[in-house]
């Protein structure tokens, strides 16, 4: 997996976030402050621009650039959190020497590092009704599907791995509906937060759906 694929991924996130902007904002209006869609739209739009201005040479550098851009441009809770997720993932790849190609298994480990960064910063556990409820199962699915060394090679299985991650994220997001929020703005509502999908979890599902499409899409070159 190279910078071209990851660039398609980030571009895909920007597109799907733009397309789902109103929906995400609606979700945030119900249990938050109605800006999540706008925040991410601003952030990933800026990330795509940053990638175009100075195309990074390695997946690690790319993820760090995206993370830094989100931190600098989004604000709110999701900015530092999504930003940390991408930045820590990039830093993990950096610690491995920033090779121009990474295997799905390596990406899985990088995203694990990103997840750890998110939980360290936001100290949310699964079940708290946050993006972690989509991010954690997605990372787990990707890890297990890429665990066997063989897996990394077969393209078919590779796809399955990202399909597994995408559906795990989606399932995780939907699972937040009955939850009572314990973190973030939604926690102010206490029991009233139940019955609504968490906007950050919903956007996280979009992130992994975009990853799957990037893997499936051969790209224009």
């Amino acid at each position: 997996m190279d910078t071209a694929l990851l660039t398609r991924w980030i571009t895909g996130i920007a597109e799907t976030v733009r397309a789902n902007r109103e929906r995400l904002t609606e979700l945030d209006a119900a249990i938050g402050d109605a800006d999540h869609g706008v925040n991410l739209d601003r952030g990933f739009g800026a990330a795509v621009q940053a990638l175009a201005e100075e195309p990074p040479v390695s997946p690690g550098a790319l993820l760090r650039l995206v993370g830094g851009t989100l931190i600098r441009r989004v604000g709110g809770a999701s900015g530092p959190l999504y930003g940390t997720a991408f930045r820590e993932a990039g830093r993990h790849l950096g610690s491995l020497g920033d090779s121009p190609e990474v295997s799905p298994a390596e990406l899985a480990r990088a995203l694990r590092a990103g997840l750890d960064g998110v939980t360290r910063l936001g100290s949310a556990a699964e079940g708290d009704k946050t993006m972690v409820d989509a991010l954690a199962p997605a990372v787990r699915a990707l890890e297990s599907a890429t665990a066997s060394p063989a897996a990394a090679r077969a393209v078919a299985e590779e796809r399955e791995a990202f399909e597994a991650a995408a559906s795990a994220a989606l399932a995780g997001a939907e699972a937040t509906i009955p939850m009572v929020a314990r973190k973030g703005r939604a926690s102010y509502l206490g029991p009233r937060s139940a019955g609504h999908e968490d906007p950050g979890a919903a956007s996280c599902a979009l992130v992994f759906a975009a990853l799957l499409s990037a893997v499936n899409d051969p790209g224009q070159g």
Binding site: T25, N39, G76, A77, G79, G122, G184, G190, R192
Partner: protein
């Protein structure tokens, strides 16, 4: 919803252009989203910086000036600022003896200030932080993000600002700021929700006779929905919520704050009931503010903030202040 704006995207920048035009004694960078004193940092004085999402005007930029903040950085509407802003604002406030970050307790604000404080520290600026969390509508428990920062922010910025102006060191300014927060509680009630420029629709819908109790200042729904009643009863609901969390007695600094769409005449009516109920409790309004200080765009409603004054705090409250939104003694 009709709004006096040019576009949803340019609201904050356009408003800062207006702030700049109206207040020559402020240095305003509409693009960079930084507002600081035109005279720059005061050497040897502890700097005070605050910031957060826009939509709460005059908070925070309206409190930049002598005796209060040195710099403020407004984020997008209801979206906490980004770390770079804080770093720049901190530099604009740094008189060489440390800077206090006044942070309202919202996950977004806390996280972004945290990242910013690290960057400032890397640049060798001594940073202290006070978390403002006065809104009793939220239970202060591990099951929540903690009480929200609302009206008490004005008290913290005014009183800590006076301490800093008086030459107190960073540790003391931070201590005073935390004391003010510890002695302050707020509760808000919305008659109508606010409408963000981007969404164009109210963040929640209230019926003709419904109100929202314990509403937040970002259009977040509150603690519960209730039936509309008269000013006296609403004042009682708000004051009792505060009193339950922090029994009120002695000299109290009281703010009856409009949420943005409430006319002053109604705020005075609420304040009359608050003052009466307080004295019924053996407490007394020693100082007060009635008006729009921590708003929520065009939300209709009010919040009540009470702070148990000590002699020192009262003295610092009375100290001269010269900002767009608070001004006396100078």
């Amino acid at each position: 919803m009709k709004k006096l704006i040019n576009s949803a995207e340019t609201v904050v920048t356009d408003a800062l252009r207006g702030l700049a035009a109206a207040h020559p004694d402020l240095r305003v960078d509409p693009g960079g989203r930084i507002v600081s004193r035109a005279c720059g940092p005061t050497p040897g004085k502890v700097g005070l910086v605050s910031g957060g999402g826009s939509g709460h005007e005059p908070l925070h930029a309206g409190f930049v000036g002598y005796g209060m903040l040195d710099a403020a950085c407004p984020g997008e509407i209801f979206t906490s600022l980004v770390p770079d802003q804080m770093v720049t604002a901190t530099a604009a406030a740094n008189g060489g003896v440390g800077v206090l970050h006044v942070v309202k307790n919202y996950t977004g604000d806390v996280l972004n200030f945290e990242l910013a404080a690290d960057l400032c520290a890397e640049e060798g600026v001594e940073i202290a932080r006070v978390l403002v969390d006065d809104d009793v509508a939220v239970r202060d428990s591990p099951d929540t993000a903690g009480r929200r920062g609302t009206g008490a922010t004005v008290f913290v910025e005014k009183i800590a600002g006076a301490a800093a102006e008086g030459g107190a060191p960073l540790a003391e300014v931070a201590r005073v700021a935390r004391e003010v927060n510890a002695r302050s509680r707020s509760f808000g009630i919305a008659l109508e929700a606010c409408t963000t420029p981007v969404s164009g629709r109210p963040t929640f819908e209230l019926g003709e006779t419904e109100i929202e109790l314990g509403v937040g200042i970002h259009g977040e729904p509150g603690r519960s929905r209730a039936a509309m009643r008269d000013a006296r009863e609403l004042a009682a609901v708000a004051l009792d919520a505060v009193n339950e969390d922090m029994p009120l007695s002695g000299d109290v600094l009281v703010m009856v704050n409009g949420l943005g769409g409430t006319p002053l005449i109604e705020l005075h009516i609420v304040f009359a009931e608050i003052a009466e109920r307080l004295s019924g409790r053996g407490a007394r309004v020693a100082r007060s503010l009635v008006g729009d200080y921590v708003t929520s765009l065009d939300m209709r409603g009010f919040s009540v903030t009470a702070c148990l004054l000590s002699e020192d705090l009262a003295r610092l409250w009375d100290a001269p202040v010269q900002t767009p939104a608070l001004r006396w003694g100078r």
